[in-house]
């Protein structure tokens, strides 16, 4: 099997339930040029190295014109918003991320996430209460999706009743990361950009309201700014809000759903979690290694020729960092295909690394810890109805579309 056809197999929907044997194949060539010109990087140390390598750009505009391939085609400049900080390099990236962080985490707002713990637990309890009187629930639709959406709405200050509207846009934006059918790539891209624009318009309206009547939320804080030198421009505010809303909305759902699926496949661990809720902390780290919600990072570009893993990635070439494969690299993790919630030295790539390390990591961790511990505690004898469950199409943000679980009664 050549590496070229291998990548197509990986992105093929038929492989979604279990891409890991294909990643093992991919790791035989740690840095490999694919038929579409993309360089895949699949081994831990090489991925970690490139995540911290300033010769690698996150800005798609750094890409050689002929290299605008893969799931992220060249944008049509006049119809789109500029990139958010996930798609920018320093110094712009640092400035925007720093301003967004001011109202989210340390050093200026160290307690925001910590102080949400009780509220997060109430949200999960409420959602599980609704399972009452049923013998079966869809962990995705009934918990893993609505819970993070409630959280990100609360955090940003987006009205939860608008969920039906922005959900459609958010789905269309992340569909832009899909790879098939290949002939519809252009249409998918245009739809994604259109959706991003509409989501941006919606958020711009909200930001205006928050500016007039500020609340205790991030949109209000970001709109208020911190003096003229430290303020996001109106467009930067909108692109940052889009990023946070989508990231808070399309990733944690997979962490929770993948987590529940993994637990149902490891009933001994599920039983332990019920008895020792503290296990949720290392368990979520192991999940981020074993079944990361973001499987690969497809938007990096070499700014210069880079020698790595016995290959030279040429200047301007697109790079895909297959973090889910690096997380299973036996040179880094002993017995990597084993799910071991007590794994030591677990420096996984589930949140990436370097300056683009997941902005929302502390929130995602807390959400997953609370959700999984509560499900384990409350559902009586939970059983998986379909194994494997049906998956979402997306190869980048990978997770079950539904996760039907049968159970016998609820603990209060």
């Amino acid at each position: 099997m050549t590496p070229a056809t291998l990548l197509r197999q990986i992105t093929d929907y038929a492989s979604r339930a279990n891409p890991y044997p294909l990643y093992a194949e991919l790791r035989k060539t740690p840095v490999a040029r694919q038929e579409n010109g993309v360089y895949t990087v699949s081994t831990y140390w090489e991925i970690a190295g490139l995540l911290q390598d300033p010769r690698v750009s996150s800005d798609m505009r750094s890409r050689a014109p002929q290299a605008a391939c893969g799931p992220l085609a060249e944008p049509e400049e006049d119809t789109i918003l500029p990139p958010s900080f996930i798609g920018l390099d320093p110094p712009e990236h640092d400035r925007l991320r720093g301003l967004a962080m001011r109202s989210f985490g340390p050093p200026h707002t160290p307690r925001r996430i910590h102080d949400m713990r009780a509220e997060l637990t109430r949200m999960v309890s409420g959602l599980i209460d609704d399972f009452q009187g049923r013998g079966q629930a869809d962990i995705v639709d009934d918990l893993a999706y609505p819970f993070p959406v409630m959280v990100i709405c609360k955090l940003l200050g987006v009205p939860h009743q608008d969920e039906a509207r922005f959900h459609v846009w958010a789905d269309a934006v992340v569909a832009g990361l899909e790879t098939e059918p290949a002939e519809e790539a252009g249409a998918r891209q245009r739809a994604a950009q259109q959706a991003r624009l509409e989501l941006g318009r919606y958020l711009a309206g909200l930001i205006e309201e928050r500016r007039r009547a500020p609340g205790d939320d991030m949109l209000s804080a970001m709109a208020a700014g911190h003096g003229p030198a430290e303020r996001l421009s109106p467009v930067e505010l909108v692109t940052t809000a889009i990023l946070l809303l989508i990231a808070g909305h399309e990733t944690t759902v997979n962490l929770i759903a993948n987590g529940m699926l993994t637990l149902l496949r490891h009933p001994d661990v599920l039983k332990r979690l019920r008895e020792e809720p503290g296990l949720a902390v290392p368990l979520v780290e192991e999940l981020l290694r074993y079944e990361p919600p973001v499987q690969l990072i497809p938007q990096r570009t070499a700014l210069t020729d880079i020698d790595i893993g016995g290959t030279t990635i040429p200047k301007g070439a697109p790079i895909w960092l297959v973090v889910a494969s690096g997380n299973r690299d036996p040179r880094r993790f002993p017995d990597p295909d084993r799910f071991d919630p007590e794994r030591r030295d677990n420096q996984h790539l589930g949140f990436g690394s370097g300056v683009h390390y997941c902005f929302g990591a502390p929130l995602a961790r807390l959400e997953a810890q609370i959700a999984l511990a509560e499900i384990a505690r409350r559902l009586g004898d939970p059983r998986l109805v379909d194994d494997p469950p049906p998956y979402r199409r997306n190869p980048v943000l990978r997770g079950p579309r539904h996760l039907q679980v049968a159970f016998d009664g609820l603990t209060v």
Partner: protein, 464 residues
């Protein structure tokens, strides 16, 4: 094999003694148990406290965010040790393999690890050092005393010496709203560690935060009142300052006096040991049952001309302790070299400073990312055409990349393109160390591999 047999026997039934109950001592004790050591383990420390962490003492503790008592080091595992805390080791008998303690007890060992670290260098005049209001900052007790005094709101604090500790103390004082004068003998703060170019930025940071920074100056005397309270400081330029508190930040002295006459190569610069952490005796012959780790050790580093480096770095203490412990219970080819690339960090005036490599060995630097003027940059240091160090101000997340360049003897100045490179970052400038010490002509040595068991050197001899 006999040697293997001895290591096996030691691992099962041996008597291990660790002198020094701080970071290196604790981590070594844990690593011994982690490595399967089932013999008896004794840990000796002169402070009465359980092992605690020092970096917070000059940061969060001085700011009053955490108490000095809340700095206990997290334990990685149970170590089932006999602890002898609050008792200093006072002597070593190599022939009889015994450590003498201040209370008269003698502790026998089969293998010994010395991790006695360093202590703060006191003010040079004892009567002045004894004045109420004159402090050093090294231990938990020092930090508690100084914090109490800062909370009382002194009119002005004098910090003597603008190294990392002095600069962090000045930063904490300003954050508390206290007036601070910093007196530094050199041309700029941190200039000894980072050079004059970066030192000038550190000076901007201090002045920008309201520090009365005076460089090229020494404190000649401290003056007290009748009650023995510090009142004034006299400076070498004739200035006289009214101060209630003076903190002496003049570096550290290695705790080796207790080894005088022991036959080990121990002196003011530390205890010389090989890259496997085995101590040298005074003949320059390596011992096989005495190991050294942490601030008190001096060991040759292949990447830096095989110079004996003494590193007062948190990360070095941990890494060296782990190597020492591994080698105590291993033999022959199973033993590992301590190949840690020096790295440290500091937090001061709202900036996170991080360094990798050995900046003072560099003669030139180039700002490869960001800009000095923004106080947000990476400065890469080179010597004789290769990367030797990098220093980041608020850009720490890139430093692993530079560590690999240092390990692989990458050519300097760098020719690659990278994010956030500015026009000023295209040409190297002299790094401007006050007393440049250049490495000698030597072989090119590079370091490769990731896990400790696969770290390897490649050695290319220099041409004659």
């Amino acid at each position: 094999m006999a040697a293997d047999g001895a290591a096996q026997e030691f691992r099962r039934h041996g008597r291990a003694v660790v002198v020094g109950a701080s970071l290196a001592g604790l981590r070594a004790a844990e690593a011994l148990r982690e490595g399967g050591f089932t013999g008896s383990l004794t840990v000796i420390g002169d402070e009465r406290h359980d092992p605690y962490d020092r970096p917070p003492l000059s940061k969060q503790v001085l700011l009053g965010r955490i108490s000095a008592d809340d700095t206990a080091l997290p334990r990685r595992r149970a170590i089932d040790a006999r602890w002898r805390l609050g008792v200093a080791a006072t002597g070593l008998d190599l022939a009889e393999r015994r450590v003498r303690l201040a209370d008269g007890e003698e502790v026998e060992f089969d293998r010994l690890l010395i991790a006695t670290g360093a202590r703060a260098r006191p003010w040079f005049r004892e009567t002045e050092a004894a004045l109420d209001g004159v402090f050093v900052l090294r231990t938990r007790d020092d930090a508690a005393r100084l914090t109490r005094r800062l909370s009382a709101g002194p009119r002005r604090v004098l910090v003597v010496g603008a190294g990392f500790t002095g600069s962090e103390i000045a930063s904490a004082c300003r954050e508390r709203g206290l007036e601070v004068t910093v007196a530094e003998r050199g041309p700029a703060p941190l200039a000894g560690a980072l050079g004059g170019v970066v030192g000038a930025i550190a000076a901007e940071l201090q002045r920008g935060h309201g520090v009365d920074l005076r460089c090229g100056i020494t404190v000649t005397s401290l003056e007290g009142d009748m009650a023995g309270r510090l009142r004034r400081a006299h400076l070498s330029d004739g200035a006289v300052l009214d101060v209630d508190v003076a903190v002496i930040g003049l570096g550290a002295i290695r705790n080796t006096e207790w080894l005088a006459g022991s036959g080990l190569a121990a002196g003011p610069r530390g205890i010389a040991c090989d890259a496997g952490c085995r101590a040298f005796d005074v003949h320059g012959i390596v011992t096989d049952d005495v190991f050294v780790a942490g601030d008190v050790a001096r060991s040759p580093h292949p990447l830096f001309g095989y110079q004996f480096l003494s590193l007062e770095h948190w990360g070095n203490a941990v890494a060296q302790a782990e190597v020492a412990a591994h080698n105590m219970i291993s033999s022959g080819l199973d033993r590992r070299p301590h190949l840690w690339v020096p790295a440290f960090w500091s937090a001061q005036f709202g900036v996170n400073i991080k360094s990798v490599g050995v900046p003072p060995l560099g003669d030139e630097l180039v700002v490869t990312q960001g800009a000095l003027a923004e106080h947000r940059f990476v400065a890469a240091y080179g010597s004789q055409g290769r990367f030797i160090a990098a220093v980041a101000f608020d850009q720490a997340r890139w430093l692993d990349f530079y560590r690999v360049l240092i390990e692989s003897a990458a050519p300097f100045p760098p020719v690659f393109t990278n994010v956030d490179r500015r026009p000023e970052g295209m040409r190297p400038v002299p790094a401007d160390f006050p007393d440049p010490s250049l490495p000698t002509h030597g072989p090119t040595v590079t370091l490769s591999g990731y896990s400790p068991s696969e770290r390897r050197l490649s050695f290319t001899p220099a041409r004659a």
